[in-house]
Amino acid sequence: MADADMKNQPDAFLEADDMLSALADGALSEDAFAAAMLKLESDDDVRAQWHAYHVVGDVLRSQDLAGGTGDMAFLTRLEARLALEPAPMASRSALANPALVQVVAPVMPPAANNDVFRWKLASGFASLAAVAAIGWQALQWQAPPNGAVLAQASSVAAPQGFQAVRADVAPVVSAAALTTAEVPPVMLRNAQLDELLAAHNRAVGGAALQSQTGSLRNVSLSEEAGR
């Protein structure tokens, strides 16, 4: 997409708006993008145009998104708060090496009563329709004990209760070594067991989600393990 002609007239109102439309569609080259950003950020009128374009787009897709009269006020409030935030760090992804295991105390199922309660909530009682939505990871009724060690800072990407596996960790420990009075059982998983689980999940069906359901299945130690 040749934007050279646009660059030559960066101040012409029409060209700026055309750039804006193309910018919204990801259709600008790098130089043009930089120029368009400059305009957008220095000129409130152009920013209002950006806003209007997107309100229009939203309404075209869904009538109940009609609105937007309070959006600028919302943004002003938000920017005031963002000004207090440290700038986002352009660091590398914080996601750990998948070969690394984190040994974490599991979120153990709480007492039976709470379990029932959670499932009642889960099945949609009253206001927690939120439970229904995707990404239900924040809703934990029991935080991991303080002994939990996480190799990475919590991020929205890391699911609760799922840890990657370090290949050099010893295989699953017999629970005979633990008593119920001790520290809550630790979740361990080794690469071999993971492989078997994956192979089993293949047999269960649903390839696209096999590793997903596999990821739910935290290995936990049962007090009854061993004979």
Binding site: F125, A129, Q212, T213, G226
Partner: protein, 373 residues
């Protein structure tokens, strides 16, 4: 004009106001209390080659008359067409949806799924919405899993697919011997009218299920797995779902993004038979029939033989390998609702058994597994 894909980012299906008189509703996007159904991931993906022994009933095409509802206390055979129809619908319909699985431990996982079918061929894409990033692209039985973080692409050929993939291979009447089927009426889930069925285990060797099936298409929208007290072990379902979405296979591929520089790992496994590998079951574990047996390919690192059993609904894998020189300790554990057991068998061998069944079932397998003389 050819068919173009919708942008998956919208959480509401797009309808131009000028195309329809009805004001836009968000019916298909359910964030209601019940809408997060969980479908044991197994349910979703279409299967192919489904004609199986014992399945004699004609199958309604998706979109035909509503599914015949078995009467209360009907035997298991009457549920089979319902399940088959659900398998068909997952295989043949075009759909896009958000899929959420929730374990009784509270852990959840969710993903977005696009499924395209021309009635025979299927293309499917899954993008993980939780956990580590993952894209899966399936074309018929070819599955490739892209892991952006490790720049790896894993490929394999899958022959078990969809809801209760072993169902066609068991005796149709056998299901009724081991499960009691009841109709539980209707419910509204994810914006759809569904029929609810409960399959209760008649013995303590398996779990029960509750299934929500969409009326019009027969598509399974929600599945719960239940223990013998009726408590829910795992729930999975679509929290939002749209049918007949125009999709394009090349767009689905492109949406995965750049895979330049990805390392390709191919799953190496070979079909074999338990017989050839030297294993037999002295007595059958009630309801469970042997399905498939796999071992590692010759040039792959040695591993266990996998012998798969199913009662039509539940699946058990027996992984058998030589005991080895280092002493091992017997153990029992679980990964979510998948029970696991590690046991010494036949003197010189080690069994790791796993399945979505009570652990006593795995113990039963361990007790009756024998080496051929």
């Amino acid at each position: 004009m050819s068919v173009f894909p919708k942008k998956p980012a919208d959480d509401v299906p797009a309808r131009h106001p000028l195309r329809q008189r009805i004001p836009m509703t968000a019916k298909l996007v359910a964030l209601t209390g019940r809408s997060f159904a969980r479908i044991g991931a197994i349910c979703l993906l279409g299967m192919f080659g489904m004609a199986g022994a014992g399945v004699t009933q004609a199958l309604a095409a998706p979109g035909d008359a509503p599914v015949h509802v078995p009467h209360a206390d009907a035997n298991g055979a009457s549920i089979v067409p319902v399940l088959q129809r659900a398998r068909d619908a997952a295989r043949k319909k075009n759909y896009v949806g958000t899929f959420v699985v929730m374990s009784s431990s509270g852990a959840t996982a969710s993903s977005r799924i696009w499924h395209l079918s021309d009635g025979n061929q299927q293309v499917e894409r899954m993008e993980s919405l939780s956990g580590s990033p993952r894209h899966v692209l399936r074309r018929n039985d070819q599955v490739t899993t892209y892991l952006p973080d490790s720049h790896t692409a894993r490929t394999e050929v899958r022959d078990t697919y969809g809801l209760f993939p072993h169902l066609p291979r068991v005796q149709e009447t056998a299901l009724g011997d081991y499960y009691r089927v009841r109709s539980k009426g209707s419910e509204r889930v994810a914006g759809f009218d569904t029929e609810v069925f409960q399959l209760s285990a008649r013995d303590g060797l398996r779990y029960g299920y509750r299934l929500w099936v969409e009326r019009r298409t027969g598509f399974a929208v929600q599945l719960q797995t239940l223990d013998k007290t009726g408590a829910v072990l795992e729930q999975a379902a679509f929290s939002d779902l749209q049918f007949d979405v125009p999709l394009r296979a090349d767009k689905m591929q492109q949406a995965i993004g750049s895979t330049a520089g990805y390392k390709v790992e191919k799953l190496e496994r070979v079909r074999t038979s338990a017989d050839v590998e030297g294993w037999l079951m002295r007595n059958a574990v009630p309801g469970f029939e042997p399905m498939d047996c796999y071992k590692k390919a010759a040039d792959a690192p040695p591993g266990a033989v996998q012998w798969i059993f199913s009662d039509g609904l539940a699946t058990v894998s027996l992984f058998i390998e030589p005991y080895g020189s280092r002493p091992r300790q017997e153990w029992r554990s679980a990964a979510g609702m998948t029970q696991m057991v590690g046991r010494r068998v036949a003197q010189d061998w080690w069994l790791t058994a796993m399945g979505e069944v009570p652990s006593q079932t795995l113990e039963a397998f361990a007790a009756t597994l024998e080496r051929r003389p």
